[in-house]
């Protein structure tokens, strides 16, 4: 089973560095700045079934209207990445979520807040995240340094995708 997943987030939220260790890379990061996307692959096993997530890592852009809609097309789910130390990245993520939902409808997604290793300097408070959770958002805390949160993020999203497919 193959699924297309988009990774979205504001400028320099650490998307790429967060997942780099957990995915298969074939293409240079230069594609990010040239065509605005690189495609990576993550294979995982969900309930005894192999699931291949084709990750479309979209170049971080604070002006969401400039996201290439064509890159989002065909996605089964998406991941929003925010930087815990920069409050505005959450706002960007919210905007992105609205854009994507507007385009693709209510498909599975998850939010991961990066830089959980430096929580003491976070600008994003728990209240805001709790509010999102109450709205049904799935939220993870991740760290590019420790690798925390990434595997469970993929695993959870893959589960939801499979569940939706069946």
């Amino acid at each position: 089973m193959h699924k297309k997943i988009c990774m979205l987030g504001g400028f320099a939220v650490g998307k790429t560095s967060l997942v780099r260790r957990f995915v298969t890379n074939l293409f240079s990061e230069e594609y990010h700045t040239s065509i605005g996307v690189t495609v990576e692959k993550k294979i995982l096993s969900v309930a005894g079934e192999n699931v291949t997530l084709m990750l479309w890592d979209l170049y971080g852009d604070d002006e969401f209207q400039r996201i290439r809609e064509s890159y989002l097309r065909g996605s089964s789910g998406y991941i929003l990445v925010v930087d815990g130390t920069r409050k505005e990245t959450l706002a960007t993520a919210l905007g992105l979520q609205r854009t994507v939902e507007g385009l693709l409808g209510p498909i599975p997604f998850a939010l991961i807040v990066n830089k959980s290793d430096v929580r003491d300097v976070w600008e994003i408070d728990d209240a805001a995240l709790s509010e999102l959770r109450q709205q049904g958002w799935t939220i993870f805390f991740g760290s590019a340094k420790t690798g925390e949160g990434v595997e469970s993020l993929f695993s959870t999203l893959a589960h939801r995708l499979l569940k939706q497919a069946t």
């Binding site: 193959h2 065509i35 996307v37 690189t38 495609v39 084709m54 290439r68 097309r73 065909g74």
Partner: protein, 579 residues
Amino acid sequence: MGEPSSKNMPTLTTDMSEDLSELRSLLLAPEQTQLDRLQERLDDPVRRTREVSRLLPGALALQQDDPGLTAALTPHVEQALFTSLRRSPQAIVDAIAPIMGPAIRQAITHALQALTQSLNQTVEHSFSLKGFRWRIEAWTTGRPFAEVVLLHTLRYRVEQAFLIHRDTGLLLQHVATETAIVRDQEMVSGMLTAIRNFVHDSFGGQRERDLSSFQVGEFTVWIQQGTNAILAVVIRGTAPETFHDVLQDTLDRIHLTQADALVSFNGDASSFASTQPNLEACLQSQYEAPAQKPSPVLVAIGVLLLLGLLLWGWGSYRDGQRWDTLVDQLKSEPGLVLTTAQDHGGRYDLAGLRDPLATDPTSLIAASGLQADRIHSTWSPYYALDPQFILSRARTILQPPDTVNLALEGEVLVASGAAQKDWAQEARRIAPFVPGVIRYEDKNLRTGSIAQLIEDIERITILFTSNSTVINPGEAKKIQALISAIRELDDMAVQLHQQVTVECRGSVDPSGSELTNRILRKTRAQAVCSVLGESGVGSATTLTTETASIRRPENQATTRSVGFAVTVHPSGSAKAGHP
């Protein structure tokens, strides 16, 4: 209808049941018999089996499109086949041999064809200069030579084909040749889609402006667009434009056969495995056709024609050179005046004037190397006025003796040397008629007879002072005259094949002793002989001093002098007296 009373029931029941039974047997007797027969048929397994066996083929035929039947039968068929294979493999081998044989043969033929093509190309390019370059390339890159040859003779080869879901960019099916370098085809598929989207967003907008091809080094990627799927192929080399049609046909066929699967695609590409043969059909390749080898006979004829042409060309060129050389020779040859020299394509015309004494043009033509029968020449006689011709002509006409030297000074023929008087007179008469000679001069020509010359020589006496053996300087003139006369005599003697002996005879005055006088005589004679010998008197002349055998004449003057006695005699004979 009222309910029967309970009191009468037993009697009534018994009667009724008998009646009913009777009634039933009356009414249903035939059906009962049929039912009994049916019961009997159902209960008899042998009979039922026989009946089912008659119905089964028709029943299976009716259900041939039912996947349920196939599913139900498959395990049994597999099990049966498996059991049969284990129990009696030979039967299966016999059964499938007619199918497997051709299949194996076909596979081997394909493999051999590929091998032959590779071998042919390898051999063909092994010994050429190009082949040598490729060998170096194979050596430096570490690839087999055959592979390098194939790569260079390759026009195009489709090395990979990707069937990609249009919206998701997910890979539906992928095929590649054995030699293709395949990276992660799923990520390549996604990235291809991303690039296609990028190009479409950036430059397109309309379907027909989608990215349809791009070049990467020696590879070209062609992208054929479909409604729900994209077919991308990686081509090494340059494929013909008609290959687009092949791709479009393939994509159309896939859309037709996989329409539902494409629309409802949810990430499971397993149902697209059946498209593999379609994609494999796209892995086409074409190599440079080896140059058509002309037939050996044609090659031989061509070579012969070329050789003939070369020989003819060389012959023409050589004849041209020889003709030019001959014409130059004839022009520069004294006594020949060339007035016409024409080359009529291998036949030549020559015409001109020729002095009878000039070199024969025929010998020049023969020496030129040109075929004499191809040259027509006409020479008219004339007298050349070149000095050597005039002189040569004069010699031919006058026939001078060897002692006469003829020379031309301007238009004057000058004779010098010595000659008989008769010849000198005749020459004086004829010479002015020699063509080219205006005047004849012979003042330096000595004429005279041998007897006269002997007389002249013997008349000369060289005088000495008293008791001296040294020639007096006053006698020098006489000595010169003497030498001149002896030379002239020598010339004539040579001409007549005679030899001359000049004897120098010394004389003394009566005073002095006999002994002194004898010595003086001898010494004086030797002195004169010596002077004559030193000046050179000619090859036919011998000088001697007085010999004892010659007796002095009685009346000889007894003066202080040296006189001469000359004898002329034939060569090789003993000398004689005066002729």
